[in-house]
């Protein structure tokens, strides 16, 4: 695989940052976009745009077809059984809120329990907190150990007859831990508990097969998948989508509207109220094509190689402590440097064109658990190389120099 050639497809890398070449290590936050995606959006607006699914004119027909093509591509990309199982949202956060609102409305009563983990992003905690406030639900946290792992036992011991949902991340956006999803889902199935997966850090890096994985819900954010901002995907098993009430109300999601009664269509229409991010959804088709042209397994392999190189390099650097040490790790390395706050690290690295993220990464529970208020995080995409890691490491040495460590 020629990473240079792949990287050349991303216009952002032709720009300099502070006179230096950009070393982008913030893909877990949001990935950069290939030219094909950017061009597709621009072309769509120039030549094919109109609103979808509403008008009769030919532009509307084209736009609708393009829009629905993306749904089909996604269905195949994640091997869902039905295209109706793919719901467009504005991001993963909205996908989780949709399930919390609709599943919560119908199935959660006072004292019912929802199991999440200490690794979760706030997006997979706060929506359940709303249910705690609104419905009296109880949130239980499966413990993460010092390696950043959540064992199947730590989930098992929380399950009771009141457990109504297990909601876990696929990959931690801090420690990079890949959770044992199959085991969790198998366990949940024996107890007939539905499982929601926050796939933000899984979908861009790991081959997905919804029929094999057999989870009930899986959410993604397209902007982390070489796609546009403003688009998310909620995969949900059809049986749930048939059963759940609509989320937001408005145009496009109705069947028949009378003064005293309104009826709703089936999924996905039922859950897609109002005009969606039409051009971005059309553009996202190119992101999937981009990923599939390289091959998601090749992406996993390449990122694994660079992650391992990064771990090896940073572990040799005495000033650096790596947060978590999971056996199965995605393309994420979070770290601290003795005596230097992560924000100062980020500012100094930025001076060398190295873009990382510093802070709690929307995971305050995890940071508290790990006993650090903040961490610095390097996260990878297909465009990263060993050279990027070398520059990162040198820049870390510069932090130490400035702080006289």
């Amino acid at each position: 695989m020629d990473i240079k050639e792949i990287k050349s497809k991303f216009p952002i890398f032709t720009n300099k940052v502070k006179g230096k070449k950009l070393v982008y290590l913030d893909s877990a936050n949001s990935s950069q976009k290939p030219k094909a995606v950017i061009d597709r959006i621009s072309n769509f607006y120039s030549k094919e745009f109109s609103n979808v699914g509403r008008s009769m004119h030919s532009l509307a027909v084209t736009a609708t077809n393009r829009f629905e093509e993306t749904r089909d591509l996604i269905k195949n990309f994640i091997n869902a059984k039905f295209r109706e199982e793919i719901i467009f949202t504005k991001n993963a956060t909205e996908g989780i809120n949709l399930i919390a609102a609709t599943y919560g409305e119908k199935f959660i009563q006072d004292k019912d329990e929802i199991i999440i983990t200490e690794l979760e992003h706030h997006a997979n905690y706060v929506p359940w907190h709303f249910l705690r406030k609104r419905k009296g639900a109880v949130i239980k946290f499966a413990e993460c150990d010092k390696h950043g792992e959540v064992s199947i036992d730590s989930i098992k011991k929380l399950i009771t007859s009141k457990t109504k949902l297990i909601a876990v991340t696929h990959v931690s956006n801090v420690t990079g831990t890949i959770l044992p999803l199959s085991k969790i889902i198998d366990l949940a199935k024996t107890k007939k508990i539905p499982v929601l997966i926050d796939g933000c850090q899984g979908a861009p890096h790991i081959k997905l097969d919804m029929q094999k994985l057999d989870c009930d819900f899986y959410v993604m954010s397209c902007h982390k998948m070489y796609g546009p901002t403003g688009v998310g995907i909620l995969y949900a098993k059809k049986k749930w989508l048939d059963e759940l009430p609509p989320y937001q109300g408005g145009g496009g999601m109705i069947d028949e509207v009378k003064k005293d009664e309104i009826s709703f269509p089936e999924s996905p229409t039922k859950f897609e109220a109002g005009t969606l991010q039409t051009a971005e959804i059309v553009g996202f088709a190119e992101s999937i094509r981009f990923i599939e042209n390289i091959g998601i397994k090749n992406i996993t392999q390449h990122e694994k190689e660079i992650t391992e190189y990064g771990l090896e390099k940073l572990k040799k650097n005495n000033s650096v402590s790596i947060i978590g040490d999971p056996k199965e790790r995605g393309a994420i390395i979070s770290f601290t440097i003795k005596g230097i706050h992560p924000h100062d690290i980020a500012t100094i690295l930025d001076d060398d064109g190295v873009a990382i993220r510093a802070g709690h990464h929307c995971c305050q529970i995890l940071h508290e658990k790990m006993g650090v208020p903040a961490t610095a995080r390097a996260s990878l995409g297909i465009y990263n190389s060993k050279e990027d890691i070398d520059i990162l490491n040198e820049s870390i040495n510069k932090c130490n120099k400035i702080f006289n460590n």
């Binding site: 924000h343 500012t347 100094i348 802070g359």
Partner: protein
Amino acid sequence: MDLKELYQEIILDHGKNPRNKKKCDGFNKDAKGNNPLCGDKVHVFLKLNDEKQVEDISFEGEGCAISIASASIMTEIIKGKDFNVAKKILENFINMLKEGSKPSINSLSDNENTTIMSLSGVKQFPMRVKCATLAWHTFLHAAEDNKKVVNTEK
């Protein structure tokens, strides 16, 4: 944008060995401040006497070198000042970071001036201005009995 201007010796020193980082004895006012985006926290303790003079001031908290140094420098400079003078210094300081204006504070000694000016480089790093101003806003809340937690995102 020069890193050396941001991380001057004075700042590194205050960041590593912050002054007045404790709960001061006999404080009669306090306030908290948060930077929710990055998790920085500060708690300012203030002893304001009947003449409205800052008899003692201290802080506790966690954050980056800039936020800790700024809090430390603030306590050093404001301690012993009249509240009205302290408020003027604060306004000047914030203007310096936001608009780049030179602080014109007659009441500061040369030494104090050098110390406060060491933070002027922060202006060139817009993402870091909040780090440098957090403790100062929190001081004001404490002095004015504003019970609201200072939040840099509001």
